[in-house]
Symmetry: C2
Subunit: 277 residues, 2 copies
């Protein structure tokens, strides 16, 4: 175990259907690397757990048969009255336990596999992940930089078939940080977690060469051993003075020349999409 390394509690939410996949190998490897560095690790392997992906009334057995389901309200009631399903509460406990949260998945149709989206839909209950703090007048609650999960960091780790250029600021798939905005800003930052830049493994096909997989593992190892010092994506806090009472970014707050969704970041890595000849 290295000296001077802060011991972290790392919670990995993992979504891949195949134990023989490279994604599975990367998960196993990452747990080993983290544990050897002295960190504690918990993994929710959603496929192995047969995680129920669909948010529906079965999540609230106490609802009367004919009663209208308002999923958000019901989740808040269950959270407050401690009648949540044990499987949901267990995942919330893991989030509270963690210092660092990883979502690991293959990019499917420019987003997470459904099983992982369904983990978010069900675990992010009202009063746990949203509807936290004061809501009145110009105060829209503790969210985007504040909230239940404040103090934690989070990171996307994903494999994809495409090439890096396709996901660049001018790539046809859309710039990767914009593609991940709903996750990094919407799912991590909303309840208070600061995102690190995603760890992205491009051109991962099952037919890729062994040395390419080894390179990815080696890169990932380097990232895992520097989680503490890797700069976060510095999204602007909702209640930090940059947004007006309608939650609109005040004029001129973005740095000079900053455009696109990067206006919501302090010191974005990519400021614009410029491609003038």
């Amino acid at each position: 175990m290295a000296l001077n390394v802060k011991i972290m509690k790392v919670f990995i939410v993992y979504a891949h259907p195949e134990p023989q996949s490279f994604n599975a190998e990367l998960l196993k490897y990452s747990v080993q690397v983290l544990q050897e560095a002295g960190h504690q690790v918990q993994v929710s392997d959603l496929y192995a757990m047969k995680w129920k992906a669909v948010a529906d009334r079965d999540d609230f057995p106490w609802l009367d048969a004919g009663e209208r389901l308002v999923y958000g309200s019901a989740s808040g009631k269950a959270f407050t009255e401690k009648t949540q399903l044990p499987e949901i509460e267990a995942e919330q406990q893991k989030l509270r336990w963690a210092d660092f949260v990883i979502f690991q998945f293959p990019l499917w149709w420019y987003s997470m596999p459904a099983i992982l989206k369904g983990w978010v839909d069900r675990v992010y209950a009202l009063k746990f992940a949203y509807g936290v703090g004061e809501h009145s007048g110009e105060k829209w609650g503790d969210r985007f930089g504040e909230g239940t999960l404040k103090g934690r960091k989070a990171m996307v780790v994903m494999t994809m078939g495409g090439r890096e250029a396709h996901y660049g600021p001018r790539g046809v798939n859309g710039y990767i940080e914009d593609l991940l905005w709903p996750i990094q800003h919407g799912i991590f930052f909303y309840p208070g977690m600061d995102p690190l830049p995603a760890f992205t493994a491009f051109e991962v096909g099952h037919r890729a060469a062994p040395e390419e997989f080894e390179k990815i593992k080696s890169d990932y190892r380097a990232r895992l051993l520097t989680l503490e010092t890797t700069p976060i994506i510095q999204y602007r806090s909702q209640n930090g003075g940059d947004y007006d009472g309608q939650q609109v970014l005040k004029p001129g707050r973005e740095g000079k020349g900053v455009t696109g969704l990067a206006i919501h970041q302090i010191n974005p890595r990519v400021k614009s999409y410029g491609g003038e000849a």
Copy 2:
């Protein structure tokens, strides 16, 4: 039935868990409006169908027990060899049947409910929705404007709790067209469908006033009766000359002053995120 109206085949993929919801009322209303205008309508009500959200090896009963699952490859094999599950093939047939496709859902965590994401994950098989056309050298297949579903239009219809300002170009949630990029560009445009701007119902809570719901229905009716003439979001075709051999937008192709993901559009409604005081 109105004269001079082209008869359309409209396929609505609908994902809301509660039959008593406003979303359900909006669906029912829209089917009535469309049918009265002479259009044909099919609905896939995913919750009512108990749609299986999770893409896993159960989708390929012919796979040997110990055989490694590569989901994409297996989906392509099943598609080509006509061994797909009937439920998957039925949805593909509805897509082929349609002139116009609607995804209707409540916005949950800045994206679709898991059950709808799982519909995409499973129905968008290799050789059906991707891996279509020539792949060699600088040709990356028929995608983004070409492909199996070319000639169709598509539209997101969604309800959300937040206010419109929160989803504006400088709103804290991120600009709505950027939030929807993974769906409109990634899921609609990739296999060939041209997206219309989303129909968005803001501030839809179950406690909203009746006249607000009536206003939304009336607005939606107006949209439904002008589907044919509403301008599409004009994404750039991958193989139309705007992208180089690495699928990167060529320098200067975006209009003057166009930034962010809007660089991938011809004549975007919002060109920049400017907020200079």
